[in-house]
């Protein structure tokens, strides 16, 4: 049996555009969002980062629904079509929430800012006398909701002098600093020293990804990342034959593990809000891949230390483990 630890600190939230400029990167590190209230009271959110399984729609809808005080189901997130949402960088580096999500937050603040002006005008109070809570502006014994104000902005029957009709706002967010997710993962393996087979029997992960908007999404991201990292340690490999032909070119022999090969992960969390953005988020997509590969390899080597093995190439296939044990005997 072997136990392996991996403690990491990740540089996330890529990136302040000035920093990218200093390293002669070919683009900026900002991202963009537009929020558009429709006259019906539903909201379209246009985002520059596009999901391929990371639940952007769920998480970004939550941010908008909470800030604007509207039902979650009234938010529609649009993405992936430059004819609809032309402005944005990419989904990479665990940056969608820490950069794109923060852009959504700021766009919502701009919506509230304009709605406050309309509310103050119609309720005949000063802007700073209005209380805003859960989508409702209150003052002078009266109140108006964001949905009501959206319709007012659309009809434009009674807006402050010179105000543009409509309730729509964009924000391009350029992060002032990186964010820094961190954590420790522990893997426990059993190694069959005769066959070289490695059995991962327990996996514990404790991460700090900052404030959590949706715990299930965060867990799912960690599960997926951990599985990918474990796969690199124990299964996945690009193998070429002597003539340079790729012999692991199909899903049958590239060795992506399934649920049958992986344990049920035990996840823990500390929540330390990031001071670099108003949501306090740090990014979560890659934490699992960073920590798990090292934790599992450390566990395998830990199990083999009594046999004189102190180093092992990845992936730790049964044959490679067996050969390492045999080599250490001589």
């Amino acid at each position: 049996m072997g136990i392996g630890f991996s403690t990491y600190l990740e540089m996330c939230g890529l990136a302040p555009s000035r920093v990218l400029g200093a390293i002669r990167y070919g683009a900026g590190g900002w991202d963009a969002a537009t929020i558009r209230f429709l006259p019906t009271g539903t909201v379209q959110v246009l985002i520059g980062t596009s999901p391929h399984g990371q639940s952007h729609v769920t998480t970004f809808s939550q941010i908008v629904a909470e800030r604007l005080g509207i039902p979650y189901d009234d938010v529609e997130v649009l993405h992936g079509d430059t004819a609809v949402a032309p402005l944005g960088m990419d989904t990479y580096g665990s940056r969608s929430l820490t950069v794109g999500g923060v852009a959504v937050y700021h766009a919502a603040e701009r919506i509230i800012e304009k709605a406050r002006k309309i509310a103050a005008h119609q309720l005949e109070v000063g802007e700073d006398e209005l209380e805003y809570e859960n989508g409702t502006f209150s003052g002078n014994g009266n109140s108006l909701t964001t949905k009501e104000l959206a319709l007012q902005a659309w009809t434009a029957h009674n807006l402050p002098d010179g105000m543009e009709p409509g309730l729509e706002a964009s924000f391009v967010y350029d992060p002032p600093n990186f964010s820094w997710p961190s954590g420790t993962h522990i893997a426990v393996v059993e190694v069959d020293t005769e066959t070289g087979n490695v059995d991962l029997i327990r996996y514990v992960a404790v991460d700090d990804v900052g404030s959590v908007i949706n715990p299930k999404v965060v867990e799912g991201q960690i599960h997926g990342g951990v599985a990918q990292g474990i796969a690199q340690a124990l299964w996945e490999e690009a193998v070429y034959d002597e003539d340079g032909n790729l012999v692991t070119g199909s899903m049958m022999n590239y060795m992506v593990p399934s649920a049958a090969e992986l344990p049920s992960y035990e996840l823990g969390r500390t929540e330390t809000p990031s001071p670099t953005n108003p949501l306090g988020v740090k990014g979560v997509g890659e934490t699992g891949t960073i920590a798990s590969t090292a934790a599992v390899m450390n566990a395998v080597v830990d199990a083999l230390v009594p046999f004189g093995v102190t180093d092992l190439d990845m992936p730790a296939t049964p044959e490679r483990v067996w050969r390492a044990i045999e080599a250490a005997k001589t």
Partner: protein
């Protein structure tokens, strides 16, 4: 990933299937399709005609035939795994059936298809070789019976002629016997890197006879005769494992090199014999 064009006929009976196979050059039987369909899609095979025997109910059965169990060629792995007759008289066959592929494969794949495809890494050919099972074949000349060990001639090769249909597998009942099937795989659904079937008959602390057969240690499933002869008492397990490699010719691939397979085979023979003797 799209097969080359082929014609398709549904056989109503075994006789009909034999006739259809004779109606065209390069006709091929379609059973559960779990090996043939992927081969068609990769265009590794391009038959002119597929004869589907999936609707011939008379080929799907498990029967008590006295000294033996009779298993229809189109019987699914899942049915073999869960049949009380198989579990009572040939538990190693039921157990091995449960290790094939995944539930979807076991509900579609058939024992006859697995034997006729003759993949060196398939489980049934090796297990049935250890059990001295027989294969019943019906062709234009009538019916004949062939031992499984002679039925498979090499990688994907069998004695089946172009118009032959594998109709039945006859497996001798084991009686009071120790058995084990050890299948070493990288992932749950993978083919065996190496598999070992061990059948051990004992009386009064001595071993009367043993049957040991390998999966994926040669182009065709083979008995480890030298190991079987070396095993006369439980103390001989180590010697039997050492002797088991005689006559093997394992492949080298991404699952493991030939050297590793030879090492693995010895370990698995020892463990399989220990498990069989403990039963």
């Amino acid at each position: 990933m799209i097969p080359a064009p082929f014609d398709y006929e549904v056989a109503e009976s075994v006789e009909h299937a034999v006739d259809l196979l004779g109606s065209r050059e390069d006709a091929k039987l379609l059973a559960g399709g779990h090996s043939l369909i992927p081969l068609l899609r990769l265009r590794f095979t391009r038959p002119a005609l597929l004869v589907d025997i999936g609707r011939i109910d008379e080929l799907r059965y498990l029967r008590d035939a006295g000294e033996k169990l009779a298993i229809g060629g189109m019987t699914r792995h899942h049915d073999i795994q869960n049949d009380p007759l198989v579990q009572e008289h040939c538990p190693v066959v039921s157990y091995a059936a449960g290790l094939i592929g995944d539930p979807q494969v076991r509900h579609r794949g058939t024992i006859g298809g697995s034997l006729a495809h003759a993949d060196p890494a398939a489980d049934f050919p090796a297990v049935l070789t250890a059990l001295d099972a027989e294969v019943v074949i019906r062709g234009p000349e009538g019916e004949r019976t062939v031992p499984v060990g002679e039925f498979v001639t090499g990688v994907f090769g069998t004695v089946l002629g172009p118009q032959d249909v594998l109709t039945e597998i006859r497996v001798p009942k084991l009686g009071p016997t120790g058995w084990a099937y050890l299948k070493f795989t990288r992932r749950a659904q993978d083919w065996a890197t190496v598999g070992v079937t061990a059948i051990v008959r004992r009386s009064n602390g001595t071993i009367d006879s043993a049957a040991i057969a390998f999966t994926n240690m040669a182009p065709k499933p083979g008995r480890a005769k030298a190991a079987e002869q070396a095993l006369t008492a439980p103390d001989d397990i180590e010697a039997a494992a050492e002797a088991s490699l005689e006559g093997t010719d394992p492949p080298s691939d991404t699952q493991g090199s030939a050297d590793y397979r030879r090492h693995l085979a010895k370990v698995l023979v020892r463990r399989a014999l220990e498990e069989a003797i403990s039963r």
